[in-house]
Symmetry: C5
Amino acid sequence: MRVGTVTGPVWATKKIAGLTGQILLRVSADGKDFIAADLVGAGQGERVILTFGGAARLDRPQVPVDAAIIGILDETEARPWTK
Amino acid sequence: MRVGTVTGPVWATKKIAGLTGQILLRVSADGKDFIAADLVGAGQGERVILTFGGAARLDRPQVPVDAAIIGILDETEARPWTK
Amino acid sequence: MRVGTVTGPVWATKKIAGLTGQILLRVSADGKDFIAADLVGAGQGERVILTFGGAARLDRPQVPVDAAIIGILDETEARPWTK
Amino acid sequence: MRVGTVTGPVWATKKIAGLTGQILLRVSADGKDFIAADLVGAGQGERVILTFGGAARLDRPQVPVDAAIIGILDETEARPWTK
Amino acid sequence: MRVGTVTGPVWATKKIAGLTGQILLRVSADGKDFIAADLVGAGQGERVILTFGGAARLDRPQVPVDAAIIGILDETEARPWTK
């Protein structure tokens, strides 16, 4: 997975049926811009966990997405490594 | 997914059977040129949503495409983020 | 998919059984060199359509290829966009 | 697979159910930062074997990860090639 | 597939069960270093055919590899194109 930052919404009225009901967000990660399905309710500017490829459409075989937001990083996630 | 721009058609008379009936378009995305199956009726110059990999051949296991146009961005999609 | 150019043959006597009978060609695409299974009878110098990943082994689950030539671009494919 | 180095933990309270119980670590590989599921109990600074894509969620179809730590390189792994 | 060169062995005592019995080699390809499962008995310095992704674990669903050596290029493979 990669860490990304949500940069805005995506508006696409014309799309295939498999995208109906999917919330698509623009996300910047690794210096590139992606569109990802939001599975956690992320907001603009939040730092998120992105997964790519087949993992992005788990349990949703009819949804043709290749990227998904699957978690939001805690704001305090820079706390010291204690493991 | 990535945002791409349709740059033209693809003409290939000689191709495998699985591509028959597929509309293939050239698309520029992230500074690279791709060929994608058009699933939404996109036109030249339109900004589109591209999906890659297994997601591109959903429900069409015999179609050997690895990229597909699955949506067209609204012209007004630069409207302010209101979520 | 990507547009590639066939640059030559591949000779590999020692290989796994799943590659037996596969015609492998060297292809240049996007400035990189690939080896792809030829499914359409492409010749040296021809411009071809390359597909990657799972799409390359459609209907051939025992063939461990991750790239395939699935079409040959028409020489006249630079004709004007008329769609 | 790639060789990576574990650089720290990942804290994400808000995430999809499929990530529950997964230990996620930050890993640096090939000059990029990834988040990977740890399947072997790796510690910070250890050099690990990373696998990507469908291979990362083997036997765990409900786990939406696209990268996993599947081995730890021996500290003495620089010993001479004797094969 | 890509052409790679075997650069050495991989030593990893601690690994997940799915890697048991797999011979892992370091391979350089396209200027990057990979770890690949060796399916053909390759030796150091040999030029090999690498396949990536799902193709690398064909018929071995429990083996979490994303890269495999599936052929060895003939030393004479630079012979003229005669097809």
